[in-house]
């Protein structure tokens, strides 16, 4: 999977490494900004009220 991505990136090794880094950061950003905020309320830490709101 990662080998396939690596082979399909343009440029020499340095350019590919740089693009990979940008891709990784983009994935982390999407996770922190969208995926994790959606998943976190499914965990029990949010239940602090007594009326179940």
């Amino acid at each position: 999977m990662y080998g396939w991505i690596w082979r399909h990136l343009p440029g020499n090794a340095w350019v590919r490494a740089l693009i990979s880094l940008v891709l990784v950061l983009a994935v982390v950003y999407v996770l922190f900004q969208y995926i994790f905020p959606w998943a976190e309320p499914l965990l029990p830490f949010n239940d602090v009220t007594v009326d179940g709101q």
């Binding site: 029990p44 602090v48 009220t49 007594v50 009326d51 709101q53």
Partner: protein, 235 residues
């Protein structure tokens, strides 16, 4: 075959990395976000309070613009959902511990501060002013909740008045469906007549949601903000 094994191991490593990132998010990043959100809420409040006319000295035109200064203790205007209206101080949780109190207890509201149960009494009014807060994650506002003891002060301000509540009943463990704890005269609290009460709720155990921890307090004193900080906040 090699491709399959390799792809499978890469997927496993990826899932592991995502789980680690998620733990970082829950334990660390929610705290960072909540701290800045709470600071922003307090800034919003302080801006509002700074703009509010000083109605005590100038009665005629300003008093109509601000109904909250008419009576003593002042009757506040209706709180707006999801908006901050007060700041809470609990010296037992730390001398610098202060958190904004927002109206309603929705998930999104509790990310920005403590949540006032809509439908319970307003600050300082007759009835039970009830507030919920996170024990863990989102800045851990009520992390040290079990340290609260009888006699501890819970101080709130709405910008015009300081309200000092004193805790009567230490952390009381109950189940999540026990709505009676935020009744105007909370059951099992030891109070038997109507009064000006305060209830704080959070989750128990620390990382779980099977129970709730409750403390009850009564309004001990009020003083206008012009009179300076109340006794409990001085050092």
């Amino acid at each position: 075959m090699r491709v399959v094994v390799r792809t499978f191991s890469e997927l496993c490593i990826t899932v592991g990395a995502v789980i680690v990132l998620f733990v970082v998010y829950v334990l660390f990043w929610t705290g960072v976000k909540a701290d800045s959100a709470m600071d922003r809420q307090i800034d919003v409040l302080q801006d509002q309070w700074a703009k509010r006319p000083v109605a005590t000295a100038t009665p005629a035109p300003d008093a109509s613009a601000d109904p909250s200064t008419d009576s003593s203790p002042p009757k506040p205007a209706a709180y707006q959902d999801g908006k901050p209206f007060a700041v809470m101080y609990i010296p037992r949780l730390g001398f610098t511990w202060n958190k904004p109190v927002l109206e309603d207890t929705k998930v999104g509201t509790l990310k920005k501060g403590l949540g006032h149960y809509s439908g319970t009494a307003q600050l300082g009014q007759k009835g039970n002013f009830s507030v919920a807060g996170h024990r863990r994650t989102y800045g851990d506002p009520f992390k040290d909740f079990p340290k609260l003891r009888r006699g501890d002060a819970v101080v709130l301000t709405d910008g015009t008045t300081w309200f000092t509540y004193l805790i009567d009943t230490g952390p009381y463990k109950t189940v999540p469906s026990d709505i009676g704890v935020i009744d105007p005269v909370p059951r099992k609290s030891g109070y038997d007549e109507p009064g000006r009460y305060l209830t704080l709720t959070t989750c128990e155990p620390e990382w779980g949601h099977s129970h709730r921890l409750i403390v009850w307090a009564h309004l001990d004193s009020t003083q206008p903000v012009e009179a300076g900080k109340p006794e409990a906040l001085r050092r």
